[in-house]
């Protein structure tokens, strides 16, 4: 079994105002902070040592250090985690090993590469100081120095995360930023639309106005058009890649493939079962990395999840693949809805029978939440 491994690092130097994820502030400069990260790494290793042996025959082909702020880890710690994975399971020689990096850690990228990383994702979000302040991003504003040290590292795939649709964001500026990343050699770009999540500090000061949706859409369309012109394929709603550089790890989430999540709050999907680790960093540490519960799902959940994630891929879902992976065949009711969505220009359908494929149209991308809901509603 090919297996993806996700390592969740729920620590940040400081919380961003727009962030609704669980994360714990850690001061990497203090001895306590450093000791905390060291203890965390040991617990990850112990969790790996307990869980991997339960998956005989697993061959790890992707590893992803996500967060939080995984670049707060020392390269040595990343290396230790990777070698413990090798100790308990086979790791493919060409495995994709990704790490998310905040601008202030860009100087550590070559060391992460030496530790085994093959991809690094720079969390830029925005180059515009005004926007950076507006959303309350805690990490440093990405400047020339950061870009230099990040992109000068050879032997690694350069990726970046950006946010679009910040109220007042300037389209030309956003596109110019992407242009710069393309020129520097970025192979993979994730562009997320800002969502103002309830009970975040951002929500208390920023209310989307009546035209906010339109504005976000216009920005995102500009992004799509620009990146298409630069040879990027738009392969998932928020993800663009030079062909061949798609994230194989993230693909596992969207394509119903197995993955093991290590760390506080990490999720695993193995043998069709979903497992959630205990969320709190302290609870996780106290349990020695061994406290999780299963998300016991109803009989239709697999089909719902398959469609919900699969439709985000712009190649769409195929009926045959769905039958073999989720063991589910579209019902007549769902087919009728797909038919109606096609008439409304929101999805495109090709082929018939097991060869039938359903994918979002350009319009459908922007209305994808509603489109997906409409297709799966009867299964909920």
């Amino acid at each position: 079994m090919k297996l993806g491994v996700y390592i969740h690092v729920p620590f940040c130097r400081r919380k961003c105002d727009y962030c609704s994820f669980y994360s714990v502030p850690v001061d990497t400069l203090s001895p306590e902070g450093r000791a905390g990260l060291e203890a965390y790494t040991r617990t990850i290793i112990s969790e790996a040592s307990m869980r991997l042996p339960q998956l005989p025959g697993a061959v790890i082909d992707t590893v992803y250090f996500g967060g939080g702020t995984p670049s707060m880890l020392e390269p040595r710690q990343v290396e230790n985690v990777l070698s413990s994975l090798r100790g308990w399971a086979d790791v493919e020689p060409g495995a994709e090993v990704t790490i998310e990096v905040n601008p202030e850690d860009s100087g550590k990228v070559s060391a992460f590469r030496d530790a085994g990383a093959s991809r690094a994702v720079l969390g830029i979000q925005t180059f515009d100081p005004g926007m950076h302040r507006a959303i309350g991003r805690s990490s440093s504003l990405c400047g020339d120095d950061h870009l230099d040290s990040f992109f000068s590292v050879k032997g690694i795939v350069h990726c970046a995360d950006m946010i679009a649709g910040i109220p007042g964001q300037d389209r030309a500026g956003l596109v110019a930023g992407l242009d710069r990343l393309c020129s520097l050699g970025a192979k993979h770009l994730s562009v997320y639309l800002l969502s103002i999540e309830k009970s975040t500090p951002l929500a208390s000061r920023m209310k989307p106005g009546p035209g906010a949706g339109e504005e976000q859409r216009a920005l995102f369309e500009a992004v799509m058009d620009f990146l298409a012109g630069r040879g990027f394929s738009h392969y998932e709603i928020s993800n663009f890649a030079i062909p061949g550089f798609e994230s194989r790890h993230n693909m596992k989430y969207w394509k119903f493939m197995p993955y093991l999540g290590l760390g506080p709050g990490a999720h695993s999907f193995i043998d069709g079962r979903r497992i959630m680790n205990v969320t709190g960093a302290v609870e996780y540490a106290c349990s020695g990395g061994f406290s999780y519960e299963e998300d016991v799902r109803g009989k239709n959940s697999a089909a719902v999840e398959y469609l919900m994630t699969g439709l985000r891929l712009l190649e769409g879902v195929s009926v045959g693949d769905m039958e073999s992976r989720a063991g589910f065949r579209l019902t007549p009711g769902m087919l009728a809805r797909i038919d109606s969505l096609e008439k409304r220009g929101l999805v495109a359908v090709s082929g018939t029978g097991v060869d039938m494929t359903v994918r979002l149209s350009r319009e459908g991308i922007f209305l994808s939440d509603g489109v997906i809901y409409e297709i799966v509603e009867e299964l909920l």
């Binding site: 996700y6 969740h8 994820f21 992803y64 996500g66 994730s190 997320y192 639309l193 800002l194 969502s195 949706g213 339109e214 976000q216 859409r217 995102f220 709603i237 928020s238 596992k252 989430y253 993955y259 999540g261 709050g265 990490a266 999720h267 695993s268 999907f269 979903r274 959630m276 998300d295 799902r297 959940s301 719902v304 999840e305 919900m308 994630t309 409304r344 929101l346 991308i365 922007f366 209305l367 994808s368 939440d369 509603g370 997906i372 809901y373 799966v376 509603e377 909920l380």
Partner: protein, 598 residues
């Protein structure tokens, strides 16, 4: 106890004049409650009453009073609500009494409901003891208040007892005056039982608990009683009086105000105003009951979830036991499914009923816009009344539409007379006359269409008079008016539950108001949704809800698919709170917004 030593009285007044607070002081003076357990407005026991600081239900309490001049007395005190919408509570309480304390707030003087309540007491031939309250307040004007008591109430100001229900000043004297002023009840304990049901409530374990005033005869545990209107009989399992809780008694005798429990499980059998007698030796004539309530406004009441229809029905019957002024009948709406058409005494009453149903019976409800009752003469001469806009016949078959008018009394400081005149004429009112209550204040009389009052007259009156004007009304007659039904169309489909009847001159403005509100409430869809207000086939206002251009979630991190799936499941739950009109999902609040319009 000798009847000579019993006093049955209600405290009545305009809203907020201090009835419940005075009741607290009287309860204290009678040492019923341990000082540690005292709280303000003890008799306001319902959560809604305490939250809103107003009395909704009349409440009875039996007290033992030791007179300063010697002698043990029993006081059956009933605290009543002051708001117009609960007048029926007052009138039923009065049937159990021989006298009233008519309270007047000395900082405000005689107000509209002071006068209305005075008339109720007069109709019942009760002894009326005026009490001037809030004399502790610096702005209290006892002299003007006395002037008002004399001029507009026609009572002898020398009888008036000044008190402060807050500090207790004057309360001791008041209690002595009650003994002198209010006559003891009459009654014959050897005559056949005659007890008047003036209130009731439903208890999960005991069934209907009925509140009675005994006029003649006695009743005790084991007696078989008969309800004179239905002939149904029940065996009494318990009788008693109201203290802070129910207090069992061996028997109830003439003059008593108390309760009877008789295993009455079927709530429809209990009729407020019915006479209870003994099955084996029944009285020949029932007591005069109560005038039927005349509901003023009507609206549809629907369960949010259609599965709850039976629960709603059961809840309405049970609530009616405790709210005799509520009337209802089954109804059915295209948009909202099965529900009830309910009649209320006013908008506050409507709000309270809905809130009690939701709280006490754990229901989620949708209410439609309130309407008054119209009288319609068809071209063939046939006359019908309707209280539901949906029932309005095609205008081409209608000869005449008449709407209810009320006699309205507004009491106000003279400063606001100009504003009020303007407000009244904007609301199609007719000025009748004006009388001075004292130097600063006047009583204005108007005739007004009930429909305008139901709409938002009261709130406007309060705001243009800075809260100083008070208002009372009673139904007068029906008058021809140019009324039309306005339909609301969502995406081309008329939504029956949103139709309303309005004067033609106001139809355009109201129609526009409503669709503007709907525009904010109905979420955007994938397609454009036209909203229209129409009279018959002619469109009088329109708006569009533009289609969604963006509905996409950015990311899910680290393979947390569970969270995303749960969001979808929640979305499905949320959809249950939507009503499907054609291909448009309309949130339930849409039906409420039509109620709330400036």
């Amino acid at each position: 106890m000798n009847l000579e030593n019993v006093r049955n009285f209600s405290i009545i007044a305009h809203i907020d004049h201090g009835k419940s607070t005075l009741a607290d002081r009287i309860i204290e003076a009678c040492n019923l409650v341990d000082p540690r357990d005292r709280k303000e407005q003890m008799l306001d026991t319902m959560d809604i009453e305490r939250e809103r600081g107003i009395t909704i239900k009349s409440n009875t309490i039996t007290l033992n009073y030791e007179s300063r001049k010697g002698g043990h007395y029993i006081f059956n005190l009933i605290d009543t609500p002051g708001h117009v919408d609960f007048t029926y509570e007052v009138s039923r309480a009065l049937a159990a009494c021989d006298g009233v304390l008519l309270l007047v707030d000395a900082t405000q003087g005689v107000e509209a409901q002071t006068i209305a309540n005075l008339y109720l007491a007069l109709e019942n031939d009760l002894a009326i003891l005026p009490v001037i309250n809030k004399i502790d307040v610096i702005s209290a004007d006892v002299e003007s208040t006395k002037e008002g008591i004399e001029k507009s109430l026609g009572l002898d100001p020398q009888d008036a007892v000044p008190v402060s229900a807050k500090t207790g000043v004057g309360v001791a004297d008041l209690l002595e005056r009650i003994i002198e002023f209010i006559p003891p009840p009459k009654g014959d304990d050897s005559a056949r039982l005659k007890a008047l049901i003036f209130d009731s409530y439903f208890d999960k374990y005991q069934g209907a608990v009925i509140k009675v005033r005994i006029y003649d005869g006695t009743v005790k545990k084991g007696d078989v009683i008969k309800f004179m209107s239905t002939g149904n009989t029940y065996e009494v399992t318990e009788v008693g009086v109201f203290r802070i809780d129910l207090e069992k008694r061996k028997e109830l005798i003439p003059g008593d105000v108390g309760y009877i429990i008789a295993g009455i499980k079927s709530v429809v059998d209990t009729k407020i105003g019915d006479t209870v007698t003994l099955a084996k030796d029944p009285a020949s004539e029932p007591l005069t009951g109560f005038k039927d309530v005349k509901p003023m406004v009507f609206s549809g009441l629907y369960p949010m979830y259609s599965d709850d229809y039976d629960n709603l029905k059961d809840a309405l019957y049970k609530l009616k036991l405790n709210d005799a002024s509520l009337i209802f009948e089954p109804d059915n709406s295209f948009a909202l499914g099965f529900g009830f058409r309910c009649g209320y005494l006013g908008l506050l009453h409507m709000e309270i009923v809905q809130e009690r149903l939701e709280r006490e019976f754990d229901l989620a409800l949708v209410t439609t816009a309130p309407s008054v009752k119209y009288r319609i003469t068809l071209t063939g001469g046939h006359v019908m009344t309707i209280d539901n806009p949906v029932k309005m016949p095609d205008l081409s078959t209608v000869e005449l539409i008449e709407e209810p008018f009320v006699d309205a009394t507004i009491v106000t400081p003279t400063d606001y007379v100009g504003n009020i005149m303007t407000l009244v004429s904007e609301n199609r009112g007719v000025h009748k006359n004006m009388e001075y209550i004292d130097q600063r204040r006047v009583q204005l009389h108007y005739e007004l269409p009930l429909a305008e009052i139901v709409f938002n007259f009261y709130d406007k009156l309060k705001s243009i008079s800075r809260g100083y004007a008070s208002f009372d009304y009673e139904l007068k007659d029906f008058r021809p008016s140019d009324m039309v039904r306005v339909d609301i169309l969502v995406n081309g489909e008329p939504v029956d539950a949103l139709s309303f009847i309005v004067h033609r001159d106001k139809s355009r403005v109201r129609g526009k108001d409503i669709i503007t509100k709907l525009k904010d409430i109905i979420p955007r869809h994938q397609f454009k949704i036209p909203l229209q207000a129409a009279i018959g086939a002619s469109i009088i206002a329109r708006e569009n809800i533009s289609p969604t251009r963006k509905d996409v979630t950015a990311k899910c991190y680290g393979g947390d698919i569970t969270r995303k799936r749960k969001l979808l499941e929640k979305q499905k739950e949320g959809k249950k709170r939507m009503k499907q009109i054609g291909s448009v999902e309309v949130p339930q609040e849409a039906f409420l917004t039509i109620l709330k319009i400036e």
